[in-house]
């Protein structure tokens, strides 16, 4: 049936089955890059759900009723589709398959009712930025089957969220050509987390790896809620060439009472401590280099250091995608067709600024 695929069983050829996000996790594992363990619920499972719930026709009808120029009509259809999907039952057969995989994952991590991240992973055969067309929803710290099934349905429904619909309408992209897979992944109990670019996003310098880091989950870094510490590593010499330690006023972590993510203020006297160990910076940079080498292009990576795991296995990659800003620029020469003599002449003619 191919309803469940473990990340180890996924490669980029499975894009149509597991979506971009899941496929890239499988790719990372194939390249020996550590990611939190987990599995994908395939688009086939979504198709079966729609058929068994018998809501496919109704969804198509609601989609047809949308008046492209009316945001209100988009909102209305989106809300009704969401209701349809979330209100339908997942069949016993499908639930059994998901449940078996979830229990296996819990056993692997030696935690009953393992907290997981549930992420939507949109697919499309010919839309490169499927993630945007599908408007990725992510639910963190999900525990137990009931919640898991609920969040899976919400991920599915996000395929028809108002922003996703509006985007596809704007791009004149047919709704039926896109589908949704869901990734279920061990929730990283992160000590540090953040983002990493395998080039300098400020200058485009391809010889640098730039790491933004804070304590706790990566949300504080990704959302821009907190100015992270920044480490710049030279890819070639593998030295930390600069460190910018920022005043970090908050971080995100789990509240064990409510099992939710909470923003915690950082005490004044700790705000300007370096959040991450130099050794971890270096290990992370090594992994960044490996990822870039694997994909053959500059990458934008989300990462975390799991406090449940032991070094060196504690550095985990959560997501990785091609860097877009510099990569989309035309690769035009920086220097151009100049000989060493031309450059020498240039140097000789141009004084150095002092004033």
């Amino acid at each position: 049936m191919d309803l469940i695929r473990w990340f180890e069983e996924i490669g980029k050829e499975d894009l149509g089955l597991v979506g971009g996000k899941n496929a890239s996790l499988g790719e990372l594992l194939r390249a020996q890059i550590p990611v939190p363990p987990g599995f994908a619920i395939t688009t086939r499972a979504f198709d079966i759900f729609l058929e068994e719930a018998n809501i496919k026709g109704e969804i198509q009808k609601l989609l047809r009723e949308i008046r492209p120029d009316s945001p209100q009509s988009i909102e209305e259809s989106a809300s009704q589709i969401k209701h349809l999907i979330e209100g339908s039952r997942i069949s016993w057969e499908l639930e059994d398959e998901i449940g078996a995989a979830y229990r296996k994952l819990s056993r692997m991590c030696q935690t009953p009712a393992l907290p997981v991240a549930v992420r939507s992973s949109a697919t499309s055969e010919d839309l490169p930025d499927a993630s945007f067309a599908g408007q990725q929803d992510t639910f963190l710290w999900v525990r137990g089957m009931d919640d898991l099934l609920d969040r899976i349905k919400r991920c599915w429904a996000s395929l028809y969220g108002p922003r996703a619909l509006a985007y596809r309408i704007q791009m004149r992209f047919p709704h039926e050509k896109i589908s949704m897979s869901v990734g279920i992944q061990k929730m990283v109990n992160s000590w540090n987390a953040g983002v990493m670019f395998t080039l300098d996003p400020a200058t485009g310098d391809p010889s640098k790896i730039v790491i933004d880091a804070n304590w706790g989950f990566g949300e504080s870094v990704v959302s821009g809620e907190c100015t992270p510490d920044q480490f710049v590593v030279d890819k070639v010499t593998m030295e930390i060439v600069s460190k910018r330690i920022s005043r970090k006023h908050c971080y995100f972590t789990t509240d064990f009472e409510t099992q939710t993510v909470q923003k915690i203020p950082i005490p004044e006297e700790r705000q300007e401590n370096q959040c991450m160990l130099d050794e971890d910076v270096m290990r992370l940079a090594e992994i960044g280099r490996k990822i870039e080498l694997h994909y053959g292009k500059p990458m934008d990576i989300e990462w975390a250091i799991d406090k449940d795991l032991m070094a060196p296995g504690n550095v985990l990659i959560l997501q990785s995608r091609p860097e877009t800003v510099w990569s989309q620029r035309k690769r035009s020469p920086v220097i151009g067709p100049k000989s060493g003599f031309d450059l020498l002449m240039e140097r000789a003619m141009r004084p150095f600024k002092v004033g």
Binding site: D200, T203, G204, D205, P206, S207, K208, V232, D234, K235, V236, T237, E239, I240, V241, S242, K243, R331, S332, P333, V334, I335, G336, P337, K338, S339, G340, F341, L343, L344, M345, E346, R347, A348, M349, R350, P351, F352, K353, V354, G355
Partner: protein, 615 residues
């Protein structure tokens, strides 16, 4: 930015104890009212790299020589278009220099044409040209070595100089002639010195530009690593010592003698008593010339000495090398490994370049720079070390003669007279000698002058000149000013600040980030090589500069801070090899830091922080 200004040269106030300082140096070295218009318009700064301390008048000769030579290559020979020369002035007893403002536009255009024609030619033919250069430079040094300085003034010239035909010139002329030849050789040697140096620096700066265009945030120390070669003549003296130590390790009696605490003379005496020892001494004799003509300092000052006349230095190293070999350590540098790493580094950066065109430009820039940069690395041994050792050797011979005939009190006093005055003393001496028995010279006049000058130099040590004078220019085109003296906007700002701060109030100093890593530890300030044995394992060495004479200490310490030297200085290169953090070219470290202070050396940023002052 509004124009930044330092005091005018005429505004400098000198302490009374320095009175008379200006008579020690040639008159054109003194700021003067008739040139004030021009002088006020330039930007003068204290050359802490070559002249951190008060300048002995005779030692100025090398600077006199480079002022002419460096400048004329920029202006008259290889014609770096907007660059003019580097001018010098004395302020108190400290040497100030300035990159002269650019010439008029039409001159720049003319120079650009000549630059293309001449400089490109040099780069095309550099390998052959360097061979030629070395040949003529060695011939010059050897000619100085052959100069005859009589040990005494003979009461009567010997018969051989009269029969069968009188030679026609005698001891008096020989003395005058040898001194003139010595001085001319120094001037000429320094003309040779700059033959390719300006171009090497320019090529380095060009390559650094190219790297920064491709990799905007590449560090200076990485560029240094890409350019610096491992097989450099400056390391030969150390390599020869390693070989001698290896040989000694196979000779039990030699090894045992070298490990003793005796003087070099006693060791040589003991060695000459056994066959093995004599064999080893024969090897030593073979490498002494030229490889022991290594200065114990920078080579610029008469008081530094060289291995050849301070044999306790190489023997000290031999002792430690022999002991380390016994302990199973390797003493040689990993030359092939260093070369391999440099090639790998270049290869990996190259692979990051995304277009074919840029890769080609990088390759060509790198090729040109690597080709000629070896000159910057190799000339140092031949000029500042080997040649200067010979020159100072001759000067000490003249000094011994002057002392013997009562013209000066101490031999070292000869260096209290500038190069134009020494021939007067020599002539005074030989005139009195020629006149016959019982004729006085003006020795009392010279001795009095020497006493006075010694007092002035001592007083100057306790006075600090302002860091800079005159008007800060918007831009500088002269390659040495940027690369060697590191004059940048930040440096000028620091100078502007520093006038008001006392050394003990400084808590952070900046220099070149020469070798990566950061570490804290206890500082050990070493001003002279003789003090090197006081360094304790695990300390941070703070010193004016290092050269291969200092090499053995690098295995003991955990970081280095120097006053003088850039990214390709000896300290920088060796620290990168040993993985020690280094900040070089701080200008003031040995003045600001005291032994026992706890300091933090950040070799990534080029910053040294004084965390805690020694009690």
């Amino acid at each position: 930015m509004s124009q930044r200004r330092f005091p005018r040269p005429s505004e400098v106030e000198y302490p009374a104890e320095l009175q008379g300082w200006d008579e020690m140096y040639p008159p054109y070295y003194i700021f003067s009212p008739e040139r004030a218009d021009w002088e006020d318009r330039q930007f003068w700064y204290h050359d802490k790299i070559h002249a951190p301390d008060p300048m002995y008048p005779w030692d100025l000769i090398f600077h006199e020589a480079w002022q002419i030579s460096l400048s004329q290559y920029n202006t008259r020979v290889f014609c770096i278009p907007p660059a003019q020369g580097v001018a010098q002035r004395m302020v108190g007893c400290y040497m100030f220099i300035c990159a002269v403002e650019p010439p008029p536009g039409e001159i720049i255009q003319k120079k650009a044409e000549l630059f293309q024609k001449r400089v490109f030619y040099v780069f095309e033919h550099f390998d052959e040209l360097y061979e030629e250069w070395l040949k003529k430079f060695k011939a010059l040094g050897e000619s100085v070595e052959e100069l005859k300085v009589p040990k005494e003034l003979p009461t009567f010239e010997p018969d051989e100089l009269v029969f069968p035909t009188p030679r026609g010139y005698f001891t008096s002329f020989e003395i005058i002639d040898s001194y003139d030849k010595l001085v001319n050789a120094v001037i000429k040697g320094w003309q040779y010195h700059f033959e390719y140096l300006n171009l090497s620096y320019l090529a380095y700066l060009m390559f650094a530009d190219t790297c920064r265009k491709l990799f905007p945030t590449i560090t200076e120390s990485t560029i240094g690593k890409l350019v610096a070669g491992a097989v450099v003549t400056m390391y030969r003296p150390e390599e020869e010592l390693c070989k001698l130590a290896r040989l000694a390790a196979t000779m039990p009696t030699v090894k045992e003698i070298l490990k003793r605490e005796d003087s070099p003379e006693a060791k040589i005496e003991a060695l000459s008593k056994s066959g093995e020892g004599r064999e080893w001494l024969r090897q030593l004799e073979e490498v002494k010339r030229p490889w022991f003509y290594a200065s114990c300092g920078s080579g610029w000052f008469h008081y530094e000495g060289s291995w050849i006349n301070r044999m306790e230095v190489p023997f000290g190293y031999l002792k430690s090398y022999v002991e380390r070999l016994e302990g199973g350590e390797r003493i040689e540098r990993y030359l092939e490994e260093i070369e391999r790493q440099r090639e790998k580094l270049a290869e990996e950066y190259r692979a990051l370049i995304s277009t074919e065109e840029d890769r080609k430009a990088f390759d060509d820039a790198y090729r040109i720079c690597r080709k000629i940069y070896r000159y910057a690395e190799d000339h140092l041994f031949w000029v500042e070390h080997w040649f200067h050792t010979i020159v100072f050797g001759k000067m000490w011979e003249f000094a011994a003669l002057l002392k013997r005939y009562g013209m000066i009190e101490e031999e070292e006093d000869i260096f209290l007279f500038n190069r134009f005055e020494v021939p007067m003393i020599l002539e005074d001496m030989v005139t009195a000698y020629a006149l016959g028995e019982g004729v006085p010279s003006r020795s009392a006049y010279w001795k009095e002058k020497a006493r006075k000058r010694r007092a002035i130099l001592n007083a100057a040590r306790f006075w600090s000149p302002p860091p800079a004078l005159g008007t800060v220019p918007e831009e500088i085109a002269e390659p040495f000013t940027v690369m060697l003296w590191g004059v940048t906007s930040e440096k000028v700002d620091e100078w502007l600040k520093s006038g008001t701060v006392r050394p003990e109030e400084v808590s952070e100093i900046k220099g070149f980030a020469s070798s990566a890593g950061a570490i804290e530890g206890r500082a050990r300030v070493i001003k002279l090589l003789e003090e090197i044995n006081t360094v304790e394992p695990g300390e941070i060495l703070v010193c004016p500069t290092t050269n291969p004479s200092w090499a053995p200490v690098f295995t003991k310490i955990k970081a280095v801070v120097t006053d003088i030297g850039g990214l390709t200085s000896h300290a920088a290169i060796v620290c990168r090899e040993y993985g020690l953090p280094a900040v070089t070219g701080t200008g003031i470290a040995t003045n600001v830091i005291r032994t026992g202070d706890t300091i933090r050396v950040n070799g990534d940023k080029g910053v040294v922080t004084i965390l805690e002052r020694a009690a």
